[in-house]
Protein backbone atom coordinates (compact mmCIF):
# COMPACT_ATOMS: atom_id res chain seq x y z
CA UNK A 1 0.00 0.00 0.00
CA UNK A 2 1.60 3.24 -1.04
CA UNK A 3 0.23 5.24 1.80
CA UNK A 4 1.21 8.74 0.84
CA UNK A 5 -0.83 8.70 -2.34
CA UNK A 6 -4.05 8.66 -0.41
CA UNK A 7 -3.70 12.14 0.97
CA UNK A 8 -2.38 13.70 -2.21
CA UNK A 9 -5.11 12.13 -4.26
CA UNK A 10 -7.69 13.51 -1.88
CA UNK A 11 -6.95 17.03 -3.01
CA UNK A 12 -7.12 16.04 -6.68
CA UNK A 13 -10.34 14.21 -6.18
CA UNK A 14 -11.99 17.20 -4.64
CA UNK A 15 -11.63 19.03 -7.90
CA UNK A 16 -13.86 16.43 -9.42
CA UNK A 17 -16.40 16.09 -6.66
CA UNK A 18 -18.15 19.30 -7.55
CA UNK A 19 -18.63 18.34 -11.15
CA UNK A 20 -19.72 14.92 -10.00
CA UNK A 21 -22.77 16.39 -8.33
CA UNK A 22 -24.23 16.66 -11.81
CA UNK A 23 -23.32 13.09 -12.62
CA UNK A 24 -24.81 11.99 -9.34
CA UNK A 25 -28.01 13.87 -10.04
CA UNK A 26 -28.22 12.35 -13.54
CA UNK A 27 -27.52 8.91 -12.20
CA UNK A 28 -30.19 9.15 -9.53
CA UNK A 29 -32.67 10.43 -12.06
CA UNK A 30 -31.92 7.53 -14.38
CA UNK A 31 -32.58 5.11 -11.55
CA UNK A 32 -36.03 6.50 -11.18
CA UNK A 33 -36.80 6.67 -14.89
CA UNK A 34 -35.51 3.23 -15.87
CA UNK A 35 -38.07 0.68 -14.64
CA UNK A 36 -35.71 -2.24 -15.18
CA UNK A 37 -32.98 -0.66 -13.06
CA UNK A 38 -35.59 0.31 -10.48
CA UNK A 39 -36.66 -3.33 -10.10
CA UNK A 40 -33.09 -4.52 -9.76
CA UNK A 41 -32.23 -1.87 -7.18
CA UNK A 42 -35.24 -2.88 -5.10
CA UNK A 43 -34.19 -6.52 -5.22
CA UNK A 44 -30.70 -5.63 -4.03
CA UNK A 45 -32.16 -3.91 -0.98
CA UNK A 46 -34.04 -7.11 -0.07
CA UNK A 47 -31.13 -9.37 -1.02
CA UNK A 48 -28.78 -7.63 1.39
CA UNK A 49 -31.01 -8.85 4.23
CA UNK A 50 -32.03 -12.32 3.04
CA UNK A 51 -29.86 -13.19 0.03
CA UNK A 52 -30.68 -16.90 -0.14
CA UNK A 53 -34.45 -16.56 -0.25
CA UNK A 54 -34.79 -13.20 -1.99
CA UNK A 55 -32.67 -14.07 -5.00
CA UNK A 56 -34.14 -17.57 -5.30
CA UNK A 57 -37.71 -16.26 -5.27
CA UNK A 58 -36.89 -13.40 -7.62
CA UNK A 59 -35.30 -15.58 -10.28
CA UNK A 60 -37.15 -17.87 -12.68
CA UNK A 61 -37.76 -21.38 -11.31
CA UNK A 62 -34.76 -22.92 -13.07
CA UNK A 63 -32.37 -20.09 -12.22
CA UNK A 64 -33.62 -20.02 -8.62
CA UNK A 65 -32.90 -23.74 -8.20
CA UNK A 66 -29.43 -23.27 -9.68
CA UNK A 67 -28.83 -20.36 -7.27
CA UNK A 68 -29.95 -22.29 -4.21
CA UNK A 69 -27.76 -25.27 -5.04
CA UNK A 70 -24.72 -23.19 -5.98
CA UNK A 71 -24.62 -21.02 -2.87
CA UNK A 72 -25.20 -23.86 -0.39
CA UNK A 73 -21.53 -24.07 0.63
CA UNK A 74 -21.71 -20.49 1.91
CA UNK A 75 -24.88 -20.91 3.96
CA UNK A 76 -24.37 -21.54 7.68
CA UNK A 77 -26.39 -24.04 9.72
CA UNK A 78 -28.67 -21.29 10.99
CA UNK A 79 -29.54 -20.39 7.38
CA UNK A 80 -27.59 -17.13 7.28
CA UNK A 81 -25.18 -16.30 4.47
CA UNK A 82 -23.02 -13.43 5.78
CA UNK A 83 -20.61 -13.33 2.83
CA UNK A 84 -23.51 -12.96 0.39
CA UNK A 85 -25.20 -10.38 2.61
CA UNK A 86 -22.05 -8.29 2.49
CA UNK A 87 -21.88 -8.73 -1.28
CA UNK A 88 -25.39 -7.37 -1.87
CA UNK A 89 -25.11 -4.66 0.78
CA UNK A 90 -22.50 -2.69 -1.16
CA UNK A 91 -22.92 -3.92 -4.75
CA UNK A 92 -23.63 -1.35 -7.45
CA UNK A 93 -26.02 -2.06 -10.30
CA UNK A 94 -24.71 -2.23 -13.87
CA UNK A 95 -27.35 -1.97 -16.59
CA UNK A 96 -26.72 -3.37 -20.05
CA UNK A 97 -29.02 -3.02 -23.04
CA UNK A 98 -32.66 -3.72 -22.30
CA UNK A 99 -35.74 -4.21 -24.40
CA UNK A 100 -39.27 -5.34 -23.64
CA UNK A 101 -38.31 -8.99 -23.78
CA UNK A 102 -34.88 -9.29 -22.28
CA UNK A 103 -31.72 -7.56 -21.16
CA UNK A 104 -28.45 -7.91 -19.28
CA UNK A 105 -27.67 -6.49 -15.86
CA UNK A 106 -25.26 -7.12 -13.01
CA UNK A 107 -24.44 -6.49 -9.39
CA UNK A 108 -20.80 -5.61 -8.90
CA UNK A 109 -19.11 -5.34 -5.53
CA UNK A 110 -15.71 -3.70 -5.83
CA UNK A 111 -14.78 -4.48 -2.18
CA UNK A 112 -15.08 -8.20 -2.93
CA UNK A 113 -14.27 -7.75 -6.63
CA UNK A 114 -17.08 -10.09 -7.73
CA UNK A 115 -19.88 -9.70 -10.22
CA UNK A 116 -23.26 -11.39 -10.42
CA UNK A 117 -24.14 -11.20 -14.09
CA UNK A 118 -27.64 -12.05 -15.22
CA UNK A 119 -29.96 -12.19 -18.18
CA UNK A 120 -33.32 -10.60 -17.47
CA UNK A 121 -36.72 -11.67 -18.60
CA UNK A 122 -38.43 -8.33 -19.11
CA UNK A 123 -41.65 -9.72 -20.54
CA UNK A 124 -43.15 -10.15 -17.09
CA UNK A 125 -44.59 -7.29 -15.07
CA UNK A 126 -41.64 -7.44 -12.68
CA UNK A 127 -38.53 -8.25 -14.70
CA UNK A 128 -36.52 -11.14 -13.26
CA UNK A 129 -33.33 -13.06 -14.05
CA UNK A 130 -33.77 -16.23 -16.06
CA UNK A 131 -30.09 -17.16 -16.08
CA UNK A 132 -26.97 -15.95 -14.29
CA UNK A 133 -23.33 -16.51 -13.53
CA UNK A 134 -21.40 -15.32 -10.49
CA UNK A 135 -17.78 -14.49 -11.41
CA UNK A 136 -14.69 -13.09 -9.75
CA UNK A 137 -14.00 -9.64 -11.21
CA UNK A 138 -10.69 -10.84 -12.64
CA UNK A 139 -12.33 -13.53 -14.77
CA UNK A 140 -15.03 -11.10 -15.90
CA UNK A 141 -12.35 -8.64 -17.05
CA UNK A 142 -10.50 -11.38 -18.91
CA UNK A 143 -7.68 -11.62 -16.37
CA UNK A 144 -6.55 -14.73 -14.58
CA UNK A 145 -7.94 -15.39 -11.11
CA UNK A 146 -5.24 -16.12 -8.58
CA UNK A 147 -6.18 -16.79 -4.95
CA UNK A 148 -2.61 -16.07 -3.87
CA UNK A 149 -2.71 -12.61 -5.43
CA UNK A 150 -6.02 -11.07 -4.45
CA UNK A 151 -7.52 -8.14 -6.34
CA UNK A 152 -5.97 -4.77 -5.54
CA UNK A 153 -9.39 -3.53 -4.44
CA UNK A 154 -9.44 -6.24 -1.72
CA UNK A 155 -5.86 -6.09 -0.56
CA UNK A 156 -3.77 -3.40 -2.27
CA UNK A 157 -0.10 -4.22 -2.62
CA UNK A 158 1.07 -2.08 -5.50
CA UNK A 159 -0.93 1.11 -5.20
CA UNK A 160 -2.95 3.31 -2.87
CA UNK A 161 -6.30 1.87 -1.83
CA UNK A 162 -8.36 4.77 -3.21
CA UNK A 163 -6.81 4.39 -6.65
CA UNK A 164 -7.12 0.61 -6.48
CA UNK A 165 -10.84 0.95 -5.79
CA UNK A 166 -11.42 3.44 -8.60
CA UNK A 167 -9.23 1.59 -11.11
CA UNK A 168 -10.80 -1.79 -10.40
CA UNK A 169 -14.27 -0.32 -10.55
CA UNK A 170 -13.62 1.48 -13.79
CA UNK A 171 -11.90 -1.48 -15.47
CA UNK A 172 -14.88 -3.69 -14.62
CA UNK A 173 -17.45 -1.14 -15.77
CA UNK A 174 -15.57 -0.60 -19.00
CA UNK A 175 -15.68 -4.30 -19.82
CA UNK A 176 -19.36 -4.46 -18.89
CA UNK A 177 -20.27 -1.50 -21.10
CA UNK A 178 -18.21 -2.72 -24.05
CA UNK A 179 -19.82 -6.15 -23.99
CA UNK A 180 -23.37 -5.48 -22.91
CA UNK A 181 -24.41 -2.16 -24.39
CA UNK A 182 -25.05 -3.33 -27.93
CA UNK A 183 -26.61 -6.07 -30.01
CA UNK A 184 -23.92 -8.57 -29.07
CA UNK A 185 -24.96 -8.53 -25.42
CA UNK A 186 -26.72 -11.91 -25.46
CA UNK A 187 -23.87 -13.59 -27.31
CA UNK A 188 -21.37 -12.14 -24.84
CA UNK A 189 -23.48 -13.37 -21.94
CA UNK A 190 -23.61 -16.85 -23.49
CA UNK A 191 -19.81 -16.73 -23.65
CA UNK A 192 -19.56 -16.16 -19.90
CA UNK A 193 -22.02 -18.97 -19.24
CA UNK A 194 -19.47 -21.41 -20.67
CA UNK A 195 -17.49 -21.03 -17.44
CA UNK A 196 -17.99 -23.71 -14.81
CA UNK A 197 -20.60 -22.09 -12.57
CA UNK A 198 -19.68 -23.86 -9.30
CA UNK A 199 -15.96 -23.35 -9.87
CA UNK A 200 -16.45 -19.64 -10.52
CA UNK A 201 -18.58 -19.29 -7.41
CA UNK A 202 -15.82 -20.98 -5.42
CA UNK A 203 -13.45 -18.21 -6.53
CA UNK A 204 -16.09 -15.58 -5.74
CA UNK A 205 -16.28 -17.06 -2.23
CA UNK A 206 -12.52 -16.85 -1.84
CA UNK A 207 -12.64 -13.13 -2.71
CA UNK A 208 -15.47 -12.52 -0.26
CA UNK A 209 -13.64 -14.56 2.36
CA UNK A 210 -10.46 -12.52 2.02
CA UNK A 211 -12.36 -9.25 2.39
CA UNK A 212 -14.17 -10.67 5.44
CA UNK A 213 -10.93 -12.01 6.91
CA UNK A 214 -9.31 -8.58 6.82
CA UNK A 215 -12.42 -7.05 8.40
CA UNK A 216 -12.51 -9.78 11.05
CA UNK A 217 -9.30 -8.35 12.50
CA UNK A 218 -11.58 -5.74 14.04
CA UNK A 219 -13.22 -8.45 16.13
CA UNK A 220 -9.89 -9.75 17.36
CA UNK A 221 -9.73 -9.57 21.17
CA UNK A 222 -6.43 -7.72 20.92
CA UNK A 223 -7.82 -5.11 18.57
CA UNK A 224 -10.65 -3.57 20.57
CA UNK A 225 -9.28 -0.05 20.07
CA UNK A 226 -9.59 -0.40 16.30
CA UNK A 227 -13.16 -1.68 16.62
CA UNK A 228 -14.04 1.29 18.82
CA UNK A 229 -12.48 3.62 16.30
CA UNK A 230 -14.36 1.96 13.43
CA UNK A 231 -17.60 2.40 15.36
CA UNK A 232 -16.80 6.02 16.19
CA UNK A 233 -16.10 6.84 12.53
CA UNK A 234 -19.21 4.88 11.56
CA UNK A 235 -21.37 6.92 13.94
CA UNK A 236 -19.92 10.16 12.61
CA UNK A 237 -20.53 9.18 8.99
CA UNK A 238 -24.04 8.00 9.76
CA UNK A 239 -25.23 11.00 11.68
CA UNK A 240 -22.47 13.51 12.42
CA UNK A 241 -23.00 17.16 11.54
CA UNK A 242 -20.63 19.04 9.22
CA UNK A 243 -19.06 20.69 12.26
CA UNK A 244 -18.59 17.41 14.11
CA UNK A 245 -16.94 15.81 11.09
CA UNK A 246 -14.68 18.81 10.51
CA UNK A 247 -13.48 18.61 14.10
CA UNK A 248 -12.34 15.02 13.67
CA UNK A 249 -11.07 14.82 10.10
CA UNK A 250 -8.36 16.65 8.25
CA UNK A 251 -7.03 16.65 4.69
CA UNK A 252 -6.33 19.30 2.08
CA UNK A 253 -9.93 19.51 0.92
CA UNK A 254 -11.64 17.81 3.82
CA UNK A 255 -13.84 20.81 4.61
CA UNK A 256 -15.31 21.06 1.16
CA UNK A 257 -15.63 17.29 0.84
CA UNK A 258 -17.37 16.98 4.21
CA UNK A 259 -19.86 19.67 3.23
CA UNK A 260 -20.75 17.69 0.12
CA UNK A 261 -20.90 14.45 2.06
CA UNK A 262 -23.28 15.79 4.69
CA UNK A 263 -25.56 17.04 1.91
CA UNK A 264 -26.45 13.44 1.04
CA UNK A 265 -29.91 12.34 2.21
CA UNK A 266 -30.05 11.17 5.83
CA UNK A 267 -31.22 7.70 4.75
CA UNK A 268 -28.17 7.24 2.51
CA UNK A 269 -25.83 8.14 5.38
CA UNK A 270 -27.70 6.21 8.08
CA UNK A 271 -27.10 3.01 6.17
CA UNK A 272 -23.36 3.35 5.90
CA UNK A 273 -21.49 0.12 6.70
CA UNK A 274 -17.83 -0.75 6.92
CA UNK A 275 -16.43 -2.39 3.78
CA UNK A 276 -12.71 -2.72 4.41
CA UNK A 277 -10.12 -2.49 7.16
CA UNK A 278 -6.48 -2.32 6.12
CA UNK A 279 -3.65 -1.98 8.56
CA UNK A 280 -0.60 -0.59 6.78
CA UNK A 281 2.90 0.28 7.92
CA UNK A 282 2.25 4.02 8.16
CA UNK A 283 -1.51 4.21 8.40
CA UNK A 284 -4.72 2.32 8.96
CA UNK A 285 -7.60 2.65 6.52
CA UNK A 286 -11.26 2.24 7.36
CA UNK A 287 -13.53 2.12 4.30
CA UNK A 288 -17.27 2.59 4.38
CA UNK A 289 -20.07 2.60 1.80
CA UNK A 290 -23.78 3.24 1.92
CA UNK A 291 -25.90 0.12 1.60
CA UNK A 292 -28.73 2.27 0.28
CA UNK A 293 -26.62 3.97 -2.39
CA UNK A 294 -23.39 1.90 -2.66
CA UNK A 295 -21.85 4.34 -5.14
CA UNK A 296 -21.07 6.52 -2.12
CA UNK A 297 -17.88 5.43 -0.35
CA UNK A 298 -15.66 7.06 2.25
CA UNK A 299 -12.09 6.15 3.11
CA UNK A 300 -10.73 7.26 6.44
CA UNK A 301 -7.01 7.07 6.86
CA UNK A 302 -5.49 7.20 10.34
CA UNK A 303 -1.75 7.96 10.40
CA UNK A 304 0.39 5.82 12.68
CA UNK A 305 2.08 8.85 14.15
CA UNK A 306 0.04 11.61 15.73
CA UNK A 307 -2.25 13.46 13.40
CA UNK A 308 -5.88 13.81 12.47
CA UNK A 309 -7.51 11.10 10.40
CA UNK A 310 -8.05 12.13 6.78
CA UNK A 311 -11.41 12.00 5.05
CA UNK A 312 -11.79 10.97 1.42
CA UNK A 313 -15.11 10.65 -0.36
CA UNK A 314 -15.29 8.45 -3.45
CA UNK A 315 -18.16 8.19 -5.87
CA UNK A 316 -18.35 4.95 -7.78
CA UNK A 317 -19.70 6.09 -11.11
CA UNK A 318 -18.28 6.41 -14.60
CA UNK A 319 -17.68 10.12 -14.80
CA UNK A 320 -16.05 10.37 -11.40
CA UNK A 321 -13.83 7.36 -12.10
CA UNK A 322 -12.80 8.71 -15.50
CA UNK A 323 -11.83 12.05 -14.06
CA UNK A 324 -9.73 10.40 -11.38
CA UNK A 325 -8.00 8.30 -14.00
CA UNK A 326 -7.37 11.36 -16.16
CA UNK A 327 -5.78 13.16 -13.23
CA UNK A 328 -3.59 10.16 -12.54
CA UNK A 329 -2.44 9.84 -16.16
CA UNK A 330 -1.45 13.50 -16.48
Amino acid sequence: MKTTKLLTTAALIMGCVGSMQMAFAENTQNTVENPFEGNISIMRIFAKETPVKTVRDWMSKGAGAKWEKMIQPTVLENGSAPLLKNFFATAVVFMGSQNEDSGIAAFYNVWQDSILLFQMDNSERFSAPENFIFLPGAVFRGEKFNAEKPAQSICPTTEAFDLAIIQTYQATKKVFDSKFSGKEAMAEFAGYLKNDSDGMFADVTVNAYLNAKLLAELKDPGNTAALKEADRFGDLLQSGSTGELEKVFSGGSAKSMIEKFTAFPAETRENIVITAYLKGKDQTIYAYASSIWPELAVLISVPKENGKPSFLMLLLNDKFAQQIMNIKSR
Partner: protein, 178 residues
Amino acid sequence: MKNNGTIRFSMAVLLVCGCVFLSTDLAAAEKSKAASSSVQKNDTAKKTKATGNVISKEDLEKLTTTAMEKSGNPLMQAGSKWLGWIDKIKKVNSLVWDGLQAGLATNEQEFLTAWENAVVDAFGEGVRKNKWLMEQIRKIGKEIWAWHMKEDKKLKENNKEDYERSQKFLQGLLNLGR
Protein backbone atom coordinates in the same frame (compact mmCIF):
# COMPACT_ATOMS: atom_id res chain seq x y z
CA MET B 1 -13.18 -35.14 -8.26
CA LYS B 2 -16.01 -33.70 -10.28
CA ASN B 3 -14.35 -30.82 -12.05
CA ASN B 4 -11.52 -28.36 -12.03
CA GLY B 5 -13.63 -25.74 -10.31
CA THR B 6 -14.16 -27.78 -7.17
CA ILE B 7 -10.52 -28.78 -7.08
CA ARG B 8 -9.55 -25.14 -7.38
CA PHE B 9 -11.98 -24.32 -4.60
CA SER B 10 -10.49 -26.99 -2.39
CA MET B 11 -7.02 -25.69 -3.04
CA ALA B 12 -8.05 -22.10 -2.56
CA VAL B 13 -9.88 -22.82 0.66
CA LEU B 14 -6.90 -24.82 1.88
CA LEU B 15 -4.69 -21.88 0.97
CA VAL B 16 -6.82 -19.52 2.96
CA CYS B 17 -7.04 -21.98 5.82
CA GLY B 18 -3.28 -22.31 5.77
CA CYS B 19 -2.95 -18.58 6.21
CA VAL B 20 -5.53 -18.56 8.99
CA PHE B 21 -3.88 -21.37 10.92
CA LEU B 22 -0.43 -20.01 10.39
CA SER B 23 -1.43 -16.79 12.00
CA THR B 24 -3.01 -18.62 14.90
CA ASP B 25 -0.98 -19.21 17.98
CA LEU B 26 -2.00 -22.76 18.65
CA ALA B 27 -0.89 -22.81 22.22
CA ALA B 28 -2.68 -19.58 23.06
CA ALA B 29 -5.89 -20.47 21.28
CA GLU B 30 -7.60 -21.92 24.33
CA LYS B 31 -6.65 -19.03 26.57
CA SER B 32 -7.82 -16.40 24.13
CA LYS B 33 -11.14 -18.13 23.53
CA ALA B 34 -12.64 -17.12 26.84
CA ALA B 35 -11.43 -13.54 26.36
CA SER B 36 -12.77 -13.53 22.82
CA SER B 37 -16.25 -14.62 23.81
CA SER B 38 -16.48 -12.01 26.54
CA VAL B 39 -15.34 -9.29 24.13
CA GLN B 40 -17.90 -10.47 21.61
CA LYS B 41 -20.64 -10.31 24.20
CA ASN B 42 -19.72 -6.71 24.89
CA ASP B 43 -19.61 -6.03 21.14
CA THR B 44 -23.15 -7.22 20.75
CA ALA B 45 -24.33 -4.77 23.34
CA LYS B 46 -22.44 -1.82 21.83
CA LYS B 47 -22.67 -2.77 18.16
CA THR B 48 -23.43 0.02 15.77
CA LYS B 49 -24.79 -0.48 12.33
CA ALA B 50 -21.53 0.44 10.63
CA THR B 51 -19.59 -2.56 11.93
CA GLY B 52 -22.58 -4.86 12.40
CA ASN B 53 -21.69 -6.58 9.15
CA VAL B 54 -18.21 -7.66 10.29
CA ILE B 55 -18.02 -11.46 10.50
CA SER B 56 -16.09 -12.81 13.48
CA LYS B 57 -13.10 -15.11 13.00
CA GLU B 58 -15.03 -17.95 14.59
CA ASP B 59 -17.86 -17.58 12.09
CA LEU B 60 -15.36 -17.40 9.27
CA GLU B 61 -13.89 -20.71 10.37
CA LYS B 62 -17.41 -22.14 10.52
CA LEU B 63 -18.02 -20.86 7.00
CA THR B 64 -14.89 -22.58 5.73
CA THR B 65 -15.88 -25.88 7.28
CA THR B 66 -19.46 -25.54 6.04
CA ALA B 67 -18.23 -24.80 2.53
CA MET B 68 -16.20 -27.98 2.55
CA GLU B 69 -18.83 -30.21 4.10
CA LYS B 70 -21.62 -29.08 1.83
CA SER B 71 -19.66 -29.21 -1.38
CA GLY B 72 -20.69 -32.80 -2.05
CA ASN B 73 -17.11 -33.37 -3.12
CA PRO B 74 -15.18 -36.11 -1.29
CA LEU B 75 -11.96 -34.13 -1.55
CA MET B 76 -13.44 -31.16 0.24
CA GLN B 77 -15.21 -33.32 2.77
CA ALA B 78 -11.83 -34.81 3.58
CA GLY B 79 -10.61 -31.25 4.03
CA SER B 80 -13.37 -30.66 6.51
CA LYS B 81 -12.20 -33.71 8.44
CA TRP B 82 -8.71 -32.24 8.42
CA LEU B 83 -10.06 -29.04 9.92
CA GLY B 84 -11.60 -31.23 12.61
CA TRP B 85 -8.17 -32.62 13.38
CA ILE B 86 -6.77 -29.14 13.71
CA ASP B 87 -9.57 -28.38 16.10
CA LYS B 88 -8.68 -31.41 18.15
CA ILE B 89 -5.04 -30.40 18.25
CA LYS B 90 -6.01 -27.02 19.52
CA LYS B 91 -8.57 -28.15 22.04
CA VAL B 92 -7.62 -31.54 23.36
CA ASN B 93 -4.68 -32.04 25.60
CA SER B 94 -3.54 -35.22 23.99
CA LEU B 95 -0.45 -36.88 22.65
CA VAL B 96 -2.34 -38.38 19.78
CA TRP B 97 -4.12 -36.57 17.01
CA ASP B 98 -5.94 -38.74 14.56
CA GLY B 99 -3.04 -40.99 13.92
CA LEU B 100 -0.62 -43.09 15.78
CA GLN B 101 2.36 -41.96 13.76
CA ALA B 102 2.26 -38.42 15.06
CA GLY B 103 1.82 -39.56 18.64
CA LEU B 104 4.75 -41.89 18.29
CA ALA B 105 7.05 -39.51 16.48
CA THR B 106 10.25 -39.17 18.43
CA ASN B 107 11.73 -36.26 16.50
CA GLU B 108 10.57 -33.32 14.45
CA GLN B 109 11.46 -34.82 11.08
CA GLU B 110 9.50 -37.98 11.79
CA PHE B 111 6.55 -35.92 12.85
CA LEU B 112 6.71 -33.62 9.82
CA THR B 113 6.75 -36.58 7.44
CA ALA B 114 3.71 -38.06 9.19
CA TRP B 115 1.95 -34.73 9.17
CA GLU B 116 2.67 -34.13 5.50
CA ASN B 117 1.44 -37.62 4.61
CA ALA B 118 -1.73 -37.14 6.62
CA VAL B 119 -2.53 -33.91 4.80
CA VAL B 120 -1.75 -35.40 1.41
CA ASP B 121 -3.85 -38.48 2.26
CA ALA B 122 -6.76 -36.20 3.03
CA PHE B 123 -6.44 -33.90 0.03
CA GLY B 124 -4.87 -36.14 -2.56
CA GLU B 125 -1.45 -36.27 -4.20
CA GLY B 126 -2.28 -33.10 -6.17
CA VAL B 127 -1.39 -31.06 -3.08
CA ARG B 128 2.29 -31.95 -3.51
CA LYS B 129 2.38 -30.13 -6.86
CA ASN B 130 1.80 -26.79 -5.15
CA LYS B 131 5.18 -25.86 -3.70
CA TRP B 132 3.88 -22.83 -1.85
CA LEU B 133 1.08 -24.80 -0.26
CA MET B 134 3.45 -27.57 0.81
CA GLU B 135 5.70 -25.00 2.40
CA GLN B 136 2.73 -23.64 4.38
CA ILE B 137 1.77 -27.17 5.45
CA ARG B 138 5.32 -27.75 6.72
CA LYS B 139 5.28 -24.44 8.59
CA ILE B 140 2.03 -25.38 10.30
CA GLY B 141 3.52 -28.79 11.06
CA LYS B 142 6.50 -27.19 12.76
CA GLU B 143 4.18 -25.14 14.95
CA ILE B 144 2.17 -28.19 15.89
CA TRP B 145 5.35 -30.09 16.75
CA ALA B 146 6.50 -27.29 19.00
CA TRP B 147 3.17 -27.38 20.80
CA HIS B 148 3.19 -31.14 20.92
CA MET B 149 6.64 -31.20 22.52
CA LYS B 150 5.53 -28.73 25.13
CA GLU B 151 2.53 -30.88 26.06
CA ASP B 152 4.53 -34.08 25.83
CA LYS B 153 7.07 -32.87 28.36
CA LYS B 154 4.34 -31.74 30.70
CA LEU B 155 2.66 -35.14 30.51
CA LYS B 156 5.91 -36.94 31.12
CA GLU B 157 6.56 -34.86 34.19
CA ASN B 158 3.04 -35.14 35.52
CA ASN B 159 2.50 -38.82 35.12
CA LYS B 160 5.49 -40.87 34.16
CA GLU B 161 3.79 -44.28 34.46
CA ASP B 162 0.75 -43.34 32.40
CA TYR B 163 2.93 -41.80 29.79
CA GLU B 164 5.07 -44.90 29.38
CA ARG B 165 2.01 -47.14 29.31
CA SER B 166 0.40 -45.03 26.59
CA GLN B 167 3.57 -45.13 24.53
CA LYS B 168 3.69 -48.92 24.76
CA PHE B 169 0.02 -49.15 23.87
CA LEU B 170 0.45 -46.95 20.82
CA GLN B 171 3.50 -48.91 19.73
CA GLY B 172 1.51 -52.14 20.05
CA LEU B 173 -1.31 -50.77 17.93
CA LEU B 174 1.12 -49.62 15.32
CA ASN B 175 2.72 -53.06 15.18
CA LEU B 176 -0.71 -54.62 14.74
CA GLY B 177 -1.38 -52.22 11.89
CA ARG B 178 1.75 -53.37 10.13
